[in-house]
Assembly symmetry: D2
Homo-oligomer: 482 residues x 4
């Protein structure tokens, strides 16, 4: 393990890379606070009433500077927080150090193994009960659904269903999870049942994680109320779109310093992440080709002047491939072996299985040369080189620092409001997936306007009546698409 | 009346400007058919089964070349059609002539008075019953809701509620409608009751018209099932956005040949119409300022680099004002009298009351110089000039020819599918507002891809299962925003 | 002849379409004056000293509203002006009427035949001497070099060289010119010699016309000093670039109302005109392909993300072709017969020979359907349709109204300053091609800044010394490219 | 000194940060070679004839990966090379290590003091003569003119003019240079005279350095022929424009991870560097304000929709300031103390004196907090924070890795061709500033087309004759601006 560990000690409780980075992390947190007016405003508003006073909150979300501001916001409004990252490469070690230095338990460093990663997730779930045992969280902040998965699978096992943990695994990671659950079963019998008893809700912010929640809810298996933060407008149309517009190129640049102008770039998927990615690459002077399965998104891409065709039709022509889909097997081995020499392949969608990394590594005759952390050159059997960034994981977080603070302030304000809402309505909500009311969505936007000098127009009463909305909003019907 | 009239004769039944324009209109309809693959595909698919066979359909929708292709599509699938425009300036006279020449009743010319306009609407509603009387439509294609309004108000009157027709009118147009209803009451007693008895549904395609439908439905006053075509993705995110991106500048150019580069343009409202308008103006090199009431839309504008402030704060700085809101009193008299000399003011939102035209005309000391049709120079009391386009009505339709065919093919394919759906389900649907199923929305997009060379990627079964959608779609949850 | 003629009468001296359009033209001239601050400023500055007092000036330049402001500027500073258009389709008839109505001789209407066109050019050259004969101009404002060509060829003939007028003609237009020269030789013996004796200079504003002047000068055949207005920065980098960025789409829209989003457009040539054209089409959502011969310009196009390939490689893929080259045979018959059905072909470069129009018309099996003025549908032998705009002449002037006033104010300010300069230095200048000094170029820009609210920064003396320029400019070395 | 030194030993001759970085540097050089087709093509073409065989070449140019490819190209065509960086922050230490590891003398590391910097420059100038003494270079590759300055000032001193070295210094750096010259005078009497005797030429690639050369030439003081590489089109219109378009944001992101969307950014200067900078910031969604002294450039900015005003008028409104001018005192102390809290200030123009860094540091009450290397927070007397990047030196090189390889291949191909040309014509050229012939400029572009898939159109003989150029080019007149 490449980390510094102080587990469950009185001096702190963390697994991080280097506590000496705390000062630097703190300086950057200070800067970020000025860029995150939504979170800071929530802190000010709720400092006194502390709506999460004493609530145990586990977070599983990229341990970055921005997340540090989120963590400290949750703490400022009363929560007892433990944190892990949700990605083995996304931690900013100085951010983790700064949080650890304040005494908040954090378990995350850049470059974890999968075993370490899931151990950290368990650490974040394990609140010492003061008697040598562990309590679980009352609320969960999730990104991608790993904590939710772990609890659900652990609970399922304790309910007597051993089929999954004993089934064959489709990936190494799946086996790691199963092994962990078996170990917990041995070491902490009945633990997950106790966790679920206390658990009151989860807020989730990714398309993929939300999709899993709806699947659980539809199957009647969801164990707690959930809030779909991803589909707040101020999340999906901001973080996914404007965040990626800034962070994709950042990842590419820090990884390879490559000239984007004149290159042919293929963006797989034209959802919000794809839209932001394509816009960014075009702005740099790349010629962007889009691939899509959905005719509506495909037509949108065409209306913006992008060529829309299949990955197969771009092989030999394109220099850069970016997956943005949330689906799997988008860039396959047969694609990668047919690409132009020096092609660059990366993922800004969700899991690393958007690219068939394992299969490529296993291909006979492939040679892998590590250029620097998160940048690997694959020399293919035909002699061509291909660069894979962040091992197929999120390129913006693996090769750069993720989305910038301002846009994350929107996402994390939604997360925070969702946590407050889940706790306040813990006795009302069903085991369903909720969306934050539009009024709150508009409020999140409003909190970010002043920082960038926006001056809103105010409806007169007569105008508001004419279009049938309250003067103070909400202004749009639920189905409005922005 | 500046029109040629052949009313209820065996040779035809129309009020149009000039039947000799029919050949030209037909040539342009031929061109448009190649740009409207969605409509042409529906024609081919339903030519044989004719799902609207014999159904009386009244249309109230800008009588343009594109609408001519819609009308002939409805006829090809069996309908008995009568048509009026929904705007006094939007008719393309050669389009109307070409339709009239085929024997389809049409009542529309460019430059109607308000009295003529509403008479035309009534004409479009009046299907001769062969015995000197009139039947109403079984289906209505509406744009802005004027036909729906007229039937509802007529029906209300015949139900004995005379309060509205006898109330004071807020505008000249309101009085025209009341006068018409009183006349119909005299000339065709019980007419509206008979119309309502046969009426099976309405499809509506504007934000404003749809809003009225929801209000009627919420109040329990909606008389028929309605389909909200506006909120099909392939309508609101295409026609409103990409249509305006093309037609706003077209209107400005044909009106005034003005250089847009270097100008300061204020776009009031940043919904889909505003987004398209702002994008277009910026692309020409104008510096665009956005005004907004909704913090989410305002933040979107800011994320695209637009300055967001109030109309008041732009006076003296801006050269061009475009309203896109669907609300009223956006550009007020006190704004117009404080604008920079030579300012240009126009509306691409909905009604002409977005700009206080009447109040400006009534202002003492204002002189109006007509430059050419739809272009007026107002010499203000302070000596400055201001140009008003299309008298405050839709500038793209008044000063140019509206949206181009390809994007209208999307909107009108939705309209046609909605008409088919309303008729097919006339015995199932309640008096509510429906939205077309996503499957049909995706189908409309799909029909337009081949024309522009888009090649879709196809999900494997495994991929489809992974994200939990059918291989053939629909691909997105209902709340997805595109 | 489709024109109203009052030749050499006391009431006026013109050949125009319709004098009753004068009022409308005047209203638009008034509007244009507010958009042409450069010209208006020159008027104010030189109204008193009238540097062209009594100087006979012939103009051959598109007779538009903007040109009307140029003409009246020349008159205000003293000149005796006669004018013809330089393109058979580019005249705005209301502009010509307004000028005619003031008593300034003008010979231009939209839709001249080539014979009429060259007769008009001769008319513009023929200043009555008060004794039944004609004097020539002392200065010429040229656009494309037709007046310069006519005088040079006439003079050559009178010098005894009959080889050209008796040679076989490569085009119909060439023969028209020869016929005209033979007629003048009969009717006005010695006329060109007399014209040349009085002629003091020409200013020319097109790339092509300037190229001809350099060729004449290099061959030692240039008869007068010439000023290359085209290569003023405020001309070539403004009119060519920003003008076309606005007027190309305008021409396409007025011609065919075509949706540009989603279309594939080929821009032949990536000089300033091509750069403006490509930018405009892309902004509308078209996918633009560029063709180039020059590797530098090709690399520029690639750096902006355009695909660069040959016309041949786009056939069957592209919807729109725009020539911008100043060269000939860019779009050839073999191209046009292999295009996608419904392709649109137009030219915004220079002469109509960029497209092989004559050869296409002569192709067996081609059918031509006129849709409306300047829009023809060619039904090709393979059954596909192709739309040709403005018969291959400048699409922005033939199908729309040319560049907007503001950008033309830059070009025409250069023209006016060139005329003043030519006259002032008529005794100094050699028979060479001159460029306006950078100081004047900067002055032209400066005259246009206030109108659009630009506020310049002023160098301190210390800063100016540091970079070695005067505080007031000029600021750049001659080779600077902007 | 924070460097590893092996001076004048048999094992090598270098001052670099860490020779163990050589492997990593070599891997990145390998990648860069694929992105620098121009340089690689020159290598292949001249490998056999080695036109610089045995020629001593001193380079003073940012010691980056791209420069490593340049150095190895010069070596491959025969040169004996010594190298220093031209900026204290711009060295990539792994690039320097890789070059050092091959035995090529290199003197550069990231974070030199000014004393170290000028010592390194002298090292790069000092070719051991094998007898304990030193020879100077025969050719110089310069960037910013520091080597040229040093030789000229040294020579001046040896000619007996001691006025400059004994004068008061306007900056610390000036004094460092004087001290160095005095030391050389003591240690190596007559050295500069010997250097000048052998020196045959210099090629220079920056606007500022070229400006100095013209000043020297105008004053009759230039000691050798010089080639202005900056004004090759493939340099100034590529590196300055497209390079900055990619590397400015890269620098900002790596420094501060700041969200650019929604920010107000002031770009001081709208030359090529400013154009690239403004385009990049706008593409990210920043609202860009431009400041300019030149009315032509100001009008260009306005035509692109940028607001143009003075720095003074942006204080309190703008978040980011970027200087691009090559002039000094652009951002002054009085500006910085009046900026919005959290403002970011950086320079991508030339010298650090574009921003009054020294004066700000000297301001009473200012506190400086170093965030990380090249990122400093200034806490101003009013309590606001301001971030200064790279201490006011080039932000793209100080905070990121400079321009990407592909665009530098253009610039460095020009450098290489200039070096070859200077040597080949060393007996023909005068002590003047030359520009590479357009034919070579076009050739540089041509060498880069294939890599990015560009397919050129080829003129027919007839077309070439029509426009009066050779079929193979050059295609444009010298004054053409691209």
């Amino acid at each position: 393990m490449n980390a510094q560990v102080k587990t469950f000690s009185t001096e702190g409780d963390y697994k991080i890379a280097d506590i000496s980075l705390a000062d630097w992390g703190r300086k950057e947190i200070d800067i970020a606070e000025h860029e995150m007016p939504g979170l800071m405003s929530i802190r000010r508003k709720h400092a006194a009433d502390a709506p999460l006073r004493g609530v145990r909150v586990t977070g599983s979300l990229h341990m970055t500077i921005q997340t540090a501001v989120l963590i400290e916001t949750l703490k400022d409004i009363g929560a007892d927080v433990r944190w892990a990252s949700c990605n083995i490469f996304s931690t900013q070690d100085h951010a983790a150090a700064a949080i650890a230095a304040t005494g908040t338990p954090v378990f995350a460093w850049k470059g974890e193994t999968l075993e370490e990663y899931w151990d950290c997730t368990l650490d974040a779930l394990s609140f010492p009960d003061g008697q040598g045992g562990f309590l679980g969280p009352q609320l969960v902040v999730d990104d991608g659904g790993d904590v939710t998965l772990l609890i659900h699978k652990g609970h399922e096992l304790e309910q007597g269903d051993e089929s999954w943990v004993n089934s064959a695994s489709g990936s190494h990671e799946e086996q790691v999870i199963k092994n962990l659950l078996k170990r917990v079963a041995r070491e902490r019998p009945g633990y997950w049942t106790k966790v679920v008893a206390d658990w009151k809700g989860v807020s989730e912010e990714t398309t993929t994680g939300v999709h899993r929640l709806y699947q659980l809810a539809d199957a009647g298996k969801l164990l707690v109320p959930a809030i779909n933060v991803n589909d707040s407008v101020t999340k999906s149309k901001f973080d996914n779109l404007y965040g990626c517009r800034e962070s994709l190129a950042d990842g590419l640049k820090r990884a390879l310093d490559v000239m984007l102008a004149g290159k042919v770039a293929v963006v797989c998927g034209y959802g919000d992440v794809g839209k932001g990615s394509a816009a960014s690459l075009r702005a740099y002077g790349a010629r962007v080709i889009v691939t899509e399965i959905d005719p509506i998104c495909a037509l949108q891409a065409a209306m913006e002047g992008y060529e829309v065709k299949t990955v197969e039709d771009t092989l030999g022509e394109a220099d850069i491939y970016v997956t943005t889909t949330g689906n799997k097997d988008i860039i396959r081995v047969e694609h990668m072996t047919a690409m132009k020499d020096q092609a660059i392949v990366c993922n800004i969608g969700h899991f690393d299985n958007e690219i068939q990394v394992d299969a490529l590594k296993a291909l006979p005759g492939v040679e892998i040369v590590n250029i620097k952390p998160q940048v690997d050159k694959f020399v293919l059997p035909n002699g061509n080189a291909m660069f894979l960034l962040a091992e197929g994981r999120l390129v913006n977080l693996g090769c750069a620092t993720g989305h910038p603070s301002f846009v994350m302030s929107n996402s994390f304000s939604n997360q925070t409001l969702a946590q407050i809402d889940l706790w306040a309505k813990k006795d009302e909500y069903d085991r369903k997936v909720y969306i934050l009311p539009k009024k709150l969505d508009e409020e999140v936007a409003r909190l970010h306007l002043e920082k960038i000098g926006v001056k809103l127009t105010k409806l007169t009463k007569e105008q508001a009546d004419y279009i049938g909305v309250p003067v103070e909003g909400p202004f749009k019907p639920e189905h409005y698409r922005y």
